[in-house]
Symmetry: C2
Subunit: 223 residues, 2 copies
């Protein structure tokens, strides 16, 4: 009944978004690695080669997926810089954990999308408003992102999800390991990993606060 307006040029960009959204969903389900063109096409009810009408090659799809993920990260809110950076860090870790394939893909991607640029811009803006010099904001951005990426990278590479699995894995590593050759490692595994209540979130927060403390202390000395 209601006639669609003549938005034929829209159809392409709409299709692009659908493809990317499904690609992200597919990658999330698979858990790791990028989906293949064939599987992605199948999910869309289409042949693999049809995707090449909307994207020059697979890399363009991966770029788009990464940008979609970046769009999920909470932009720094309008509070003091430390609270804003803390919230952003927590949101970023959450997003990267929700999309475990993303962090491995970021290595190879170098063309930042619109959401990525907006995100970076907002972070720098927040730091500048918080009293950081340009150089200081660059240092803060670098050390924060390094910590967040690195922590999440390691967290994702752990071969377990719950702390029940943790005990199993830690135990089996322990059993395979020549304990007397690595006494300090043995001690740490026994003392920490096998004790109940070891939480990744807590460990993340400890390092994050250490970094934020350092930034607060250096802020005015970075001119």
């Amino acid at each position: 009944m209601a006639t669609e307006p003549a938005d034929t040029p829209r159809r392409t960009s709409l299709s692009k978004e659908i493809v990317l959204r499904e690609a992200v969903a597919l990658a999330d389900e698979a858990g790791t690695g990028a989906p293949s063109m064939r599987r992605l096409a199948e999910r869309l009810g289409v042949e693999a080669m049809s995707l090449y009408h909307h994207f020059r090659n697979k890399d363009m799809i991966l770029d788009g997926m990464i940008d979609l993920v970046f769009g999920e990260i909470e932009l720094p809110s309008d509070v003091d810089w430390r609270t804003a950076m803390r919230r952003r860090a927590v949101s970023m870790r959450g997003t990267l954990i929700r999309h475990p394939w993303a962090i491995s893909l970021m290595d190879s991607r170098t063309n930042p999308g619109h959401a990525t640029l907006r995100h970076h811009n907002a972070v720098i803006g927040c730091l500048r408003s918080g009293g950081f010099s340009i150089a200081g904001a660059a240092h803060a951005f670098s050390v924060l992102d390094s910590y967040i990426y690195g922590y999440t990278l390691q967290e994702l590479s752990l071969p377990f999800k719950s702390s029940v699995d943790l005990e199993d894995v830690a135990g089996s590593i322990l059993n395979q390991m020549p304990r007397d050759e690595f006494p300090h490692l043995t001690e740490m595994i026994l003392d920490r990993a096998l004790k109940p209540g070891y939480a990744y979130t807590e460990e993340f927060d400890i390092g994050l606060d250490l970094v934020l403390d350092g930034l607060q202390r250096q802020r005015e000395s970075w001119l």
Copy 2:
């Protein structure tokens, strides 16, 4: 003339080491990603399937390659903990940069090899001798490795090597970007990346010292 001693059992383990050494060399030359079984075999003057006599599957080769890389990282020397951790961090970054394929492979690898375990053990031992409690050593290890991995990950994903390339790339991003939409980002690129003398090593050191300062300050409060 000189008859070889009957060390047939050695041949297997020797062959394993040769395969791994060549695999690392091949990956270094290719720059990114793991070498394929076929290419690796070709380099060794052998067919692809022959490799499966020494390794159960490709993952075992990747595990071995990672452990070889870990073996290159300088163990913490016998000085004060801060100097030792600083040296280890610099060495670790250097190693990961020399083998750019390694950091992306570590995501998926979960079976630490002997060199990896020795390395971890030595780091923990150094921290414990430096007065860190078990929990404190765990926190320190976590935040340090997170920073080093994350920084290197980002450094490797940059699409250039020299600062000449940097100017080109930064300039082209700048030109493609709607400058007025991202004023802070624009300002930072103009002020920093396009100024000569921007050095990654310097940036790495700034964050590293910030983390080390934080550790020094917290050391005794972590019981």
